[in-house]
Each structure stands twice: as C-alpha cells, then as structure tokens.
C-alpha cells in the first residue's frame, strides 16, 4: 500500500510538473504572440490613425499595456479573474479603431462586448490549440481539425482492457471521421461529375473576386479623398480659428491653448456643412471633368482611328481602332453626351469611320476566309542541295532560326518547312516578287485539328518553286509499288514526323484550345476540328490579341483598300477570325455577315482556283529543261504535277471550309449570347448555313469540272493534240506556247524579230548553263500578270491547254483512281467538320439541308465512283487480262532479259531493282493500276469485291502459264528428283535447305516478312515431309532464335549439323569411287538453262514480293504493323503459290550448282 501511495504521489508530481511545464510553455508562446500582434496592431493603428484624436492613441497604448500585463499574469491560471477585471477597466479607456464617431469620442464597443472579446481572445490564446489560432486565410480542412483533435486526445489516451484507444472509443471523434469521409467522397463525386459546372463556377467566382477588388479599390479611393478633404478643411478651420483666437487673445490678453482650435473645429457644426457643400461641389466638378473627358474621347476618336488604320507605320490595327471607335460611339450615345448639339459634326465623323471600319473588317474577313492572310509564314533557308534539305526536313529542330524569329517565336517550337516563297497575291504584286521572302511557318500550329493544313501542302500564297523534293510527292515510295503512288494521302501525311512536330508545337491559342481535349494525340476521328467552346467564350483583348497574331514580318503588304488603307495581315487564322468577329459584333455588323458573304462566295472560290492555276503554271514554267527530261523518264512521276495541283486545290478548299466553319461557330456563339444582335437574326444557331452550303456546292462543282477534264479521253486528247500541233516544235518548250499568254505574245510580236532572237539566245545560253543570263531570263518573266491571265480561264480549259501539255501527259479515265482517295477524305472530313459545328452550335438545319443538297447536286465523290464503276474497272479488267495473256504467250516471255554488263551494276544492288522476265514485267505493269484501285475503293463494296476477283483471276492465269515453264526446266533432272525425294526422303532436302540461313537471307533480300511465312519456308513439299519427320527433324521456324533447336548451340555446330543432314541425302552423289560414279545417272541442265532458272526464280520472287507489299495496308505499315487489306485472303493465297514457285526454283538452282561442282 505505501508503495502504491508513493507511486501515486510520484505520478501526481510528474503530472503537475508536466502541467506546469506545459502551462509555462503556452504562456510563453501566448506572450510572444500577443506581443507580436499588439505590435502589428499598434503599427497599423499608428499608420491609420496618426491624425486622429490623441485620446484614441492613448487608449490603444493603454490597451496594449493592459494586454501585455494580462499576458504576463495569465501565466498563473488562478489569476485569470483578476486579469479579466483589470482588462475590463483598461479597455474602458481604449478607443476602438473601428469607431466612426471619433469626434464625439464614442467607443467602438460597449463594456460588456469588450470584456467578452477579451475573454474570447484569452480563451483562444490559452485553451484552444494554437493551430487554430492562425490567420483566417490559412484554411484548415475538416481532416486537419480531426487530426489535431486526435493528437490532443492521444496525449491523454491510454489503452484500457478492451485494447481500444481513446479515439476509437470516442463516438464523437468517430462520427467526425465518418462525416469527413462522406464529405470527401461527396466532393470527389462533385468534382468528377460536375467538372464543367465547377469550372464555370470558378470563372464566375473569379469575376466576382475581380469586381470585389474593384469595389475595394473604389472604397479606398473614396476614403483617401475624404481624408484629403478632411485635412484641407481641418487646416483651413484651424487657421481661421487660430486667427479668431489670436484676435480674441489680443483683446483678452490670453494666449490660446494648443489643441483647442482643433477641438473647436471638430465640434463645430459649420464644418459639417462646409464638408457637405464641398462634397457636392466636388461631385459637380467630377461630373464636369467626366463630361470633358467623354467629349475628349469622342473628339479624339476619329484621329486615333485614322492613326491606327492608316498611319505611316502601314499597320492597320483594326482591332484597336474598333475598340476606340466603339468606345467613342458608346460615349456619344450615352445620356449626358447625346444631348450636346455641338457634337453633331463629330458624330458624323464617327459614323463615317464606322463605315470605314466596317469596310475594312469585311475585306479583312474575306481575306482571312479566302486564305489571303492568316496563313502563318514560312521560313526561308538557303539550302544548296537536296540531301541537306532532306536532312533539314528530317531534323527540323536543328534548323537555324533567324534572329527576328527568335525574338518573337517563343510560342513556336521549331520551324518545319524549308522552302522559298513566291507570292501571287492580288494585282499589286511588286516587281521584286521573284525575290524570295523570309517568312515563317505557321506561327500557330493549332491543336485545333486541321487536316488540310500541312506544313508542306501550302495554301494560297506560297509556292515551293522548283523544289519538288520538298513537295507532297517527296514521300513517294518505290516506283515498283503502284499502290504507294498517291502521295496526297492525308493519312500518310499525318504520320509524317514533321507534321506531328507541327501539331505538337504550341501557341497561346493552342494552349487555350487544350481544354477541348483535342491534344491527346489520338486518332483523327477523335480530334476536334472546331474551336472549343471554352475558348470561344473567353473574352478577346482586341489590342493585345491583335498584336499577338499580327504579321509584322511580311514586308509585302496586301492590296490597298478603303481610302488608301492597308488591310491588316495576320498569322493565326483562329485568333484573327475571333478578332474580326468580335469587332463586327461591336460595331453591330455581324448579322449582315450572311448576306455579304453569300454575294461573293462563288467568285472567291473561283479566284482561289485561278490562283492555284497560276501558281501551278508558274511552277511548271520555271522548271528547267533538264528537269523535264528527268521527269519524262519516270513513269511514276507522270501524274505528279497533276496530283500536286489537285491537292493544292483540295487543301485550299478544305481550309476555306474550316475557316468558314470557325467563323460560323464564333458568330453563332456571339449571336446567341448577345440579345441586341440576335434580334436581327431569325435563327442564330443556323447562322451562315447558306454560306457554308453554297461554298461547299461551289467547291464540289469546281472539283467535278476538274475531274471531268482529266477523265474525258476523246475530247481532251483531241484538244491536247491540237494544242501540240498548233505550236512549233521549238516553241513547245517555251513558256508562252500554249495559248495562255496570247497578249504577251502579241506584244512580243510587235517588238519584232530582234526580241525573239534575243529570247532564243537567252534560251540557248540558259541551256548551256550561263548563270547570268539565266538570272536575267528569270527576271524577265511577267509574273505580275500571270494571275490576271488566268482570271477568266475555266478549269477545263486550264487542264486541257496548260496542265496536260506542260506535264506531257494525256487525260485518261484511269486517272479517276488517282484522285479518288483524296476526294473521299475531303468529303469525309468536311462532313465530320460540319457535324461537329452543328453539334457545338446546336444547329437544327443541317440534316434537312444535307438531304436537299444531295438530291439537287451530285457530289464529286459520287461522280467519280460512277466513272470508276462504269468505265474504269471494265476497262482495266479487259486491258489487264488481255495484256497479261499476250505478254505470257510471247516467244521470249520467260527468257532472261538482255541486261547490261554485270560490272556496270553495283555489287550491292537490291534484288527488287533487277529486271525480270518479260512475262512477269508485263503482269506487274498490268496489275499496277488494279492494285492502286484496291487501295482507293471503299473496302467491302461491290466495286472492291469485283476488283479483288479480277486480280485473283489475273494472277491465277499467270500461275497456270508459269507452272509449265517451271516444270519444263526442272522435270526429269537430278536436282528436282533430289528436292522432291522418294519414299521416306520425300521433301527432306527441301526442308533442310529451307533451314539454311542463306535461304532466309534470300527471302529477306526480297523483302518477304519471315514472321508471316513460317510454314512457307519449307515449301509445300517440305511441309508434307514435316508430318512424317520425327520431332528432331522438324523444320526450324523463321523467327525462331538460333540455337534453340537440335542443330547445335553455336553457329559452326549448327551449320555442321545441317550439312550432315544434307550430306545424308546427297551421299550417293558424293561417293567419288569410279565404279559408283559410272553407275549413277546424272541429269544436269545446261548453263543456259541454269541461267533461265535463276532468272525465273528471281522474277517470281520479285513479283510475289511486290504484290504482297501492294496488298498490305499502307497506313498500318507506316505504324510498324503489317496487315493485309480486307477480303483479300484468297488473293493472297494465289500470290503465295507464285512465291512457292519462286522458292522452289531458287532451291533447284542451288542443288543444281552443287551437283555440277
């Protein structure tokens, strides 16, 4: 018992000591804190109320002293009551800083209130955890509160018999925790489900916070003013009172006491009166000043507008000008200014400027919509050779960036295109137009997906000149692969590294558009082409945003527009459209957009085509004779220029549709939100639909015209022939020889023969390579008038008389296949885009309109499909079958071709570049277009199935002709017997040869995918033998790692084992004993036959390889995975037969050579 007591005592002592220490600590902390707080408060009070009644200062000091005393005394909790009393007493003397009636000397709080507050403060300081006593801005979550409470409870917690801690047994604590988890899950649910709503709320809260800040600023300003006035009044009255007192003092002989005057001032009611009067006066003055300021704004507005739009700097900053104008107009029509009659003249001026602004905006809008501006800019590098260009294209990050660009291209990651730009920009193209400009790539590589805007598929203002290797065709694949010829494939271009980089590059605009979730790098279908609504709804800063997208680099300014003003030029189409739309909305012109655009859309689209024609002509015309000769030799490049021209047109049309859709989206959003503007439009959600439809139908009809001209063989060939015969042979190579530039010829004719001879001389010397003359010749080209000459030229005329003659090709109905995929993609993308627009803007008219449109007009894709089905496929089928049969039945169809000397070829020449037998060459050529068609027709359709069947038939026919030729060489030879084998040895040698690395290397050289042909390596014969073989002799799989099988671990052992297998089969023929040799019956073939056999093996393997490649999906192949086209399994099997024939012939040649040794 005594021990227990002792222990209890000790415990008690310890507890007391702990409590004391804790109390000391807390007291020390509280003291420190209080001192700091009082200091802060005191400083603040000092700042704010220096000029106030000295009483208040005394009071504050007293309160501070009292607080300090109380803090020191609060160390002992027993004295708390005493302290409170003292505090109450001292606080009676304390003047609250929040008291308004300072003059009257009233306290801010009552006695009771002050006492309560002091109590509260003390309680907070001493009893509550200091963690709560922090700045209110440090918000503590419920979780934090629970944790703090938990820690506090844990200090005294001990484990009882149940083993549960105090916290676990505390139901209130548990409830609190449950509540916290419920709250957290609710918050999580809210943040997930109502993400958008929360975002919106955040925006609203931000706005409110901004307004609140403004209000605070205003209140502060007012208080400051009040203080100034107070000071002023106080000083005056003090002076007046002083004078008065002086006078009284003089009369009475007493000197006035200090501070008395102030007291008088403070207490005199006349001071209040004068303050009110002055306040009113001040308000009056302010109103007057504001009126003057408004009049100033209105007065200066026309001048500022002119300066911004037509200043000497030549930069038309229409955004800033519109802002200024609308501000002035709003001021003008405000209640106070509108009544001033003297401003009527200014009003007239403003209205004139409004008209000018509207004209500029309409023209700028058309410039943007029809690709005359906002196309970004293009970098120029002096690149000497093609290899460097390739390198630069491949590694654009390493390209040099000029200084100017470096300054402003923080948003641009890398320049992507290396090219020189030549402008055909309207009538006022300067003389030095030929000089290549330094421009940049599209500054804004938008994350808003634009499939038409490629870094090397240019829009309307740039040209790649002669650098064809940088064009869309630069991605051209092997000449042998017909299916890979359409370089205009968008999907392929998507895979291009540069394009991907371009898409990755950001700008401020694109950053904003991230909200739309379009930058996730997923497939095309998931990417958004329209501007995200969150971006659309954000405000546009007409001044700053205009500067962001203004094109300062372009030295060549666009046409002079309204009253000698230069039109603005931009780099970013989206931002510039937003600017213009906002400006139009501000001046109330937006509802007119539909009618104004509807008027010009057709003419503008035609002008775009004409520009493309002019550019194509210029490019073809600039091509040097040597290049033409080079082009002539390549069959694959025949349609390159044609495709390029067509692609340029499609690209332009796509971009126009894209910009029109963006404009429609922006306009609809503004019209639906702005009540004033929406009154003028009947259906804001369908706004600009007629414009979009008209533009689209115009594009479709233009595309059809182009296609019609390219496909009509009879008429066009006659016209081309006429064009060719009408010109002299000498003039054919000249630039004005196609009747395009007749006026120029006439002028030249007037100059006489001397001019002609001069031109001839130049031409001759140019051919000789005289650089100076060449330069002069280039300068003489009348480029400034090129566009004018194409102004009235319809598409069909251009195609007949310029495009085909200059590219030295003829119109053919088969060209339909070349254009089909591009048009299909164009149609598909445009449709998706319109659907997206309709979805975003809640458009209702699109399904009905689309139906009506399809009923009225035939789409280009439908026209093309009809042509393919009715004409192209039957023609190709007949042509293919007939020609293949003719080629295979020729006398030398399977004879080795007469090749150049072997030493003329490089040692490392690729097998696919070596010539084949005529039959194979012919078959490959005939199936080329059919294979090309397979990639361009919609898979699964009737045309597609028909085409696959045609191909299957063709290849089967060829196989049936080639098989007898193979048999003719092989049958009844020892090598063939060995390969075939008899009895148990059937096919064993073939399998053994298939296991050889050399055989796999051969197949690799022919670009066969070994992973896909495991079963084929042993050939069919070998595969039969596999079934009979035991496990040890099973054929090695092509992709199987070496050394895993029974053939040995290292290479030499493996080779030795393979050789052993082969030797067993060739044992008979390796026995050189004379009597044995005499008994053997050798049937070997002659050298010539061996040559024929190897050539046939090569030809069959090459044909099979190329055809297999053509059957693969290109898009998939680009991503690294190979996949066959749909519904082509049987066709693939037919090609496999061809391949197995080739492999058999190769093995036959191998065995034959061994036997002849």
């Amino acid at each position: 018992m005594p021990k227990k007591k002792k222990k209890d005592k000790d415990k008690q002592k310890k507890k007391d000591a702990k409590a004391k220490a804790k109390a000391d600590k807390e007291a020390a902390k509280a003291e420190k804190k209080k001192e700091e707080k009082k200091k802060d408060k005191h400083d603040k009070k000092k700042d704010k109320h220096d000029d106030k009644d000295p009483k208040s200062a005394e009071g504050a000091a007293a309160a501070a002293a009292a607080a300090a005393d109380s803090a020191t005394k609060a160390k002992n909790p027993i004295d708390a009551k005493k302290v409170r009393k003292e505090l109450q007493e001292k606080q009676q003397q304390y003047v609250s800083p929040f008291s308004d009636d300072l003059d009257e000397g009233q306290f801010g709080f009552g006695d009771d209130q002050a006492a309560d507050l002091a109590d509260l403060e003390h309680m907070l300081n001493v009893e509550v955890d200091e963690d709560f006593f922090a700045e209110p801005r440090y918000f503590h979550t419920l979780r934090r509160v629970i944790n703090v409470l938990g820690i506090q409870l844990n200090d005294d917690a001990y484990d009882d018999q149940s083993g549960k801690s105090l916290l676990e047994r505390n139901p209130a604590y548990q409830n609190l925790q449950k509540q916290a988890s419920v709250v957290e899950s609710a918050i999580e649910h809210m943040s997930r489900v109502y993400c958008n709503a929360l975002n919106r709320s955040v925006i609203q809260v931000g706005r409110i916070a901004r307004e609140f800040d403004d209000a605070i600023g205003k209140v502060e300003g007012l208080r400051r003013q009040l203080r100034v006035i107070q000071e002023t009044i106080g000083a005056r009255h003090r002076a007046a009172n002083k004078e008065k007192l002086d006078k009284e003092g003089e009369t009475s002989g007493d000197a006035p006491e200090e501070g008395q005057g102030d007291m008088i001032v403070a207490s005199t009611p006349s001071a209040h009166m004068s303050l009110r009067e002055l306040w009113m006066k001040k308000l009056e003055s302010e109103a007057l000043l504001s009126l003057i300021a408004k009049i100033n704004i209105v007065r200066e507005a026309p001048g500022r507008f002119d300066n911004l739009t037509a200043g000497e700097h030549k930069n038309c900053r229409i955004g800033a000008a519109t802002l200024c104008l609308t501000e002035a107009l709003n001021t003008m029509f405000s209640d106070d200014v509108s009544q001033v009659d003297a401003l009527s003249q200014i009003l007239e001026n403003l209205m004139t400027r409004k008209g000018i602004a509207a004209s500029i905006l309409w023209e700028t809008l058309e410039d943007i919509l029809y690709l005359r501006t906002a196309n970004g800019s293009v970098l120029d590098f002096e690149v000497s050779d093609t290899s460097t260009q390739q390198q630069l294209l491949q590694d654009p990050l390493k390209q040099p960036i000029d200084k100017k660009q470096e300054k402003r291209s923080s948003a641009v990651e890398s320049p992507l295109v290396v090219q020189k730009a030549v402008h055909f920009d309207g009538e006022s193209v300067a003389e030095d137009q030929e000089k290549v400009e330094q421009e940049k790539l599209p500054m804004v590589a938008r994350r808003i997906y634009n499939p038409f805007h490629k870094n090397y598929v240019l829009l309307c203002v740039e040209d790649t000149g002669d650098r064809d290797d940088l064009s869309v065709d630069s991605q051209a694949s092997e000449s042998s692969d017909g299916s890979n010829k359409d370089e205009l494939d968008y999907q392929e271009n998507e895979n291009d590294e540069n394009t991907r980089r371009m898409k990755r590059s950001l700008s401020a605009e694109s950053m904003a558009s991230d909200e739309g979730g379009d930058g996730d790098g997923q497939g095309r279908r998931e990417r958004k082409m329209m501007i995200p609504m969150s971006v659309v709804k954000t405000e546009v800063d007409l001044v700053a945003d205009e500067m962001r997208c203004y094109d300062f680099e372009t030295t060549q300014l666009s046409k002079q527009s309204v009253q000698q003003r230069y039109l603005p030029r931009y780099t970013d189409p989206v931002l510039s459209l937003r600017l213009v739309t906002d400006c139009l909305a501000r001046i109330g012109q937006l509802p007119l957009a539909e009618s104004i655009l509807l008027k010009n859309v057709e003419a503008e689209i035609k002008s775009v085509i004409q520009k493309e024609q002019a550019r194509t002509f210029y490019r073809l015309d600039r091509r040097k004779p040597s290049q033409r000769m080079r082009m002539r030799g390549k069959a694959a490049d025949e349609l390159k220029d044609l495709r390029r021209h067509f692609m340029a047109i499609l690209s332009s049309f796509g971009c126009i549709m894209m910009r029109l859709s963006h404009f429609a989206e922006l306009s609809r959003t503004i019209l639906t939100t702005d009540e004033e503007l929406s009154e003028h439009v009947r259906y804001p959600s369908n706004f600009l639909r007629p414009v979009l439809d008209k533009a689209y139908s115009c594009m479709q009809s233009e595309i059809k015209d182009f296609l019609r001209a390219c496909l009509q063989e009879h008429i066009s060939s006659a016209k081309v022939a006429q064009a060719a015969t009408s010109a002299e042979p000498k003039q054919k190579t000249k630039i004005f020889s196609f009747g395009v530039l007749e006026t120029d010829n006439e002028e030249q004719g007037k100059k006489g023969e001397s001019g002609d001879s001069k031109q001839d001389r130049k031409h001759d010397s140019k051919q000789e390579g005289d650089p100076e003359v060449q330069k002069d010749d280039d300068e003489d080209l009348p480029k400034e008038n090129t566009l004018a000459r194409f102004k009235e030229m319809p598409v069909s005329t251009f195609v007949f008389s310029v495009l085909f003659p200059m590219t030295e090709t003829t119109p053919q109905v088969q060209h339909a296949l070349v254009f089909r995929r591009s048009i299909d993609l164009f149609t598909d993308i445009t449709k998706t885009q319109q659907e997206e627009l309709a979805q975003l803007t809640e458009e209702t008219s699109i399904p009905a309109l689309a139906r009506r449109r399809s009923e009225r007009h035939e789409m280009a894709i439908e026209f093309l499909d009809k042509a393919i089905e009715d004409t192209v496929l039957p023609k190709l089928q007949t042509q293919g079958v007939n020609n293949t049969i003719i080629m295979t039945e020729m006398q030398d169809a399977f004879e080795p071709p007469a090749e150049a000397n072997v030493y003329a070829r490089a040692d490392k020449i690729q097998p696919l570049d070596v010539a084949m037998v005529h039959a194979c060459e012919g078959m490959l050529a005939e199936t080329e277009q059919l294979f090309m068609a397979i990639h361009r027709l919609p898979p699964g359709g009737s045309m597609y199935t028909q085409l696959v069947q045609i191909l299957e038939f063709l290849i089967t026919t060829f196989n049936s002709i080639a098989q007898p030729k193979v048999d003719e060489i092989c049958v009844d030879t020892t090598a063939d017997e060995l390969l075939e084998g008899y009895g148990d040895d059937k096919g064993k040698l073939s399998v053994a040869l298939g296991k050889r690395d050399a055989f796999k290397m051969l197949l690799n050289a022919y670009e066969f995918d070994l992973d896909l042909m495991d079963d084929e390596i042993g050939t069919k014969v070998g595969a039969d033998a596999n079934g009979k073989d035991d496990d040890n002799n099973s054929p090695e799989k092509g992709s199987k790692p070496k050394g895993d099988d029974d053939l040995g671990k290292n290479k030499i052992e493996r080779f030795g084992a393979t050789m052993k297998q082969e030797m067993e089969l060739l044992k008979e023929y390796l026995d050189f004993l004379p009597f044995h040799q005499e008994s053997l019956d050798y049937d070997l073939i002659a050298d010539y036959e061996l040559k024929q056999a190897t050539c046939l093996a090569h030809s069959l393997l090459k044909v099979a390889s190329i055809m297999e490649g053509r059957l693969k999906s290109r898009a998939k192949a680009a991503r690294g995975t190979t996949r066959l086209l749909e519904n082509t399994k049987q066709l693939h099997d037919t090609i496999k037969t061809l391949k197995s024939m080739g492999m058999k012939m190769a093995k036959f040649c191998h065995v034959e050579v061994l036997l002849q040794l």
């Binding site: 072997v902 020449i909 050399a998 290397m1001 050189f1072």
Partner: protein, 245 residues
C-alpha cells in the same frame, strides 16, 4: 541446232541425235552429239581429281586440272548468272559450296585411301598430298572471290572450318603409322572424323607408312577399354556419392 540442243537435257540431246540420224542429217547429228558429249564431260567436276596424275607426281607439286576447272566454273557461272538475275539469287546458288567443296575433297581422299583412281597405277607421293592441300587453298580463295560480293551469303567462319577439316583429313595421308596412331588416340573422342575414316587411313599405304589394319583394331580396343573404365569409375563415384547422401 546447237543452241536448241544446249537448251535440252543430255537425254533429249541424244534422242535428237537419233532422230537426226534417222533423217540422214549426218553433219548435224555429229555436231549435236559432240555438244551433248561436252555436256556429259562437264558434269561432276570434282570427281576426276582422284584420277589426276598430279597425285603421283614425284618431281613437282601441280594443281590438278579438275580443280582448275572447278575454279573456272565457280567464277564463270557466277558472272554468267549475275547477268540475268539478282546478285542475291546468284550468291544463294553458290551459298553451300563453302561446305560442299571440302566434302568433295574429303571424298577424293577416301577414294585414294581405298586405292582407287590413279593410285591403282602409281603410288601416292608427298607432292600428290601437297597438291591436294594446295587445291583446297585454291578453291577456298576462288570461292571467296566469287561470292564475296554478297558477303551475307558467304560465311567465312563456317567455310574456313570446313576447309580446315578437309586439309586435316588430307594431312592424315602423309603421317607415319606412329603419328597416325598418336593422332587417333588423341582425337578419337572429337568426332572430327568417323571410325570408318580412321580405319581407312590405317589400312592405306602412304608415302611414309605401310597400312596396318590390326593396329587400328588394337587401339580401338584400348580406347574402348579406357572408356569403359572411365565410365565404371564415374558410376562408382556417383554411387558412392549417392550412398553418402
């Protein structure tokens, strides 16, 4: 006529000759026959090496004509094929020759060891063995030159090993019986050559030895015994190890 004959098999050529003879076209039939005989003569170029007198030459080391023919065939055919087919295909046709030619050389050695071929008429000389050795070197060099342009198809390591094996086998002929016995004792486990090949060598009369078949049998028995003893020892050791555990 000759061309048409060349395109056919030798059998076909003969039938053509008979048909010409039946038609009494004697000159043409003579030409066809001679060309077809030429074809027959060209086959199996390595086989006649065993018949070469160079193997019995006492005065000098000469390369057999057949070996020169093979070299010529390799280079000539390679160029000929490359005219009309791809380099890869031509190289593939000759890809196994690197292992096949040494096998032919070894076969020739076996023929000599058996005592067939030119050996029937005259004894094998050291020059003859040297000439076989040099033939291997010549063929290796020519083959490498011919297929080397497509280095993927010519595995230099495997080819070198195969030729080295052939050279070793040829060198067995010039050893004395003691040297051969020692070699057999040391290399019997290596599976480089079969027991049949060693037996053939022991039986053969070479320039430095007289064939002794019995010695081979003795050695074989000794080696067998040793092998057996080793195996027994190993088994015993294994059993002892198992007993302990």
């Amino acid at each position: 006529m000759l061309k048409s004959c060349c395109n056919c098999k030798p059998g076909c050529a003969l039938s053509l000759v008979f048909s010409l003879l039946r038609k009494e076209c004697f000159i043409e039939s003579y030409l066809t026959l001679s060309s077809s005989l030429l074809i027959f003569a060209r086959i199996r170029r390595m086989a006649p090496v065993a018949q070469s007198t160079a193997l019995c030459a006492k005065d000098a080391v000469r390369i057999p004509t057949a070996v020169n023919n093979v070299s010529e065939y390799i280079t000539g055919t390679m160029d000929y094929l490359r005219e009309s087919t791809s380099n890869a295909m031509a190289a593939y046709a000759f890809s196994n020759a690197g292992q096949y030619i040494p096998a032919c050389l070894m076969s020739t050695v076996r023929v000599i060891a058996v005592g067939e071929g030119i050996i029937e008429r005259a004894p094998l000389t050291m020059n003859g063995i040297e000439c076989l050795d040099r033939s291997a070197a010549v063929l290796y060099k020519d083959l490498k030159a011919a297929i080397g342009f497509q280095s993927h198809f010519f595995d230099i390591e495997v080819t070198a090993v195969a030729f080295e094996q052939a050279a070793t086998f040829t060198a067995l002929m010039e050893m004395s019986i003691e040297e051969l016995a020692e070699y057999y004792t040391t290399h019997s486990q290596s599976e480089e050559f079969s027991d049949d090949d060693f037996e053939l060598m022991f039986r053969m009369d070479g320039p430095r030895r007289v064939g002794d078949d019995r010695q081979f049998k003795k050695l074989k028995n000794v080696i067998k015994k040793r092998k057996k003893e080793k195996e027994e020892k190993k088994e015993a050791a294994d059993l002892a190890a198992a007993g302990i555990t």
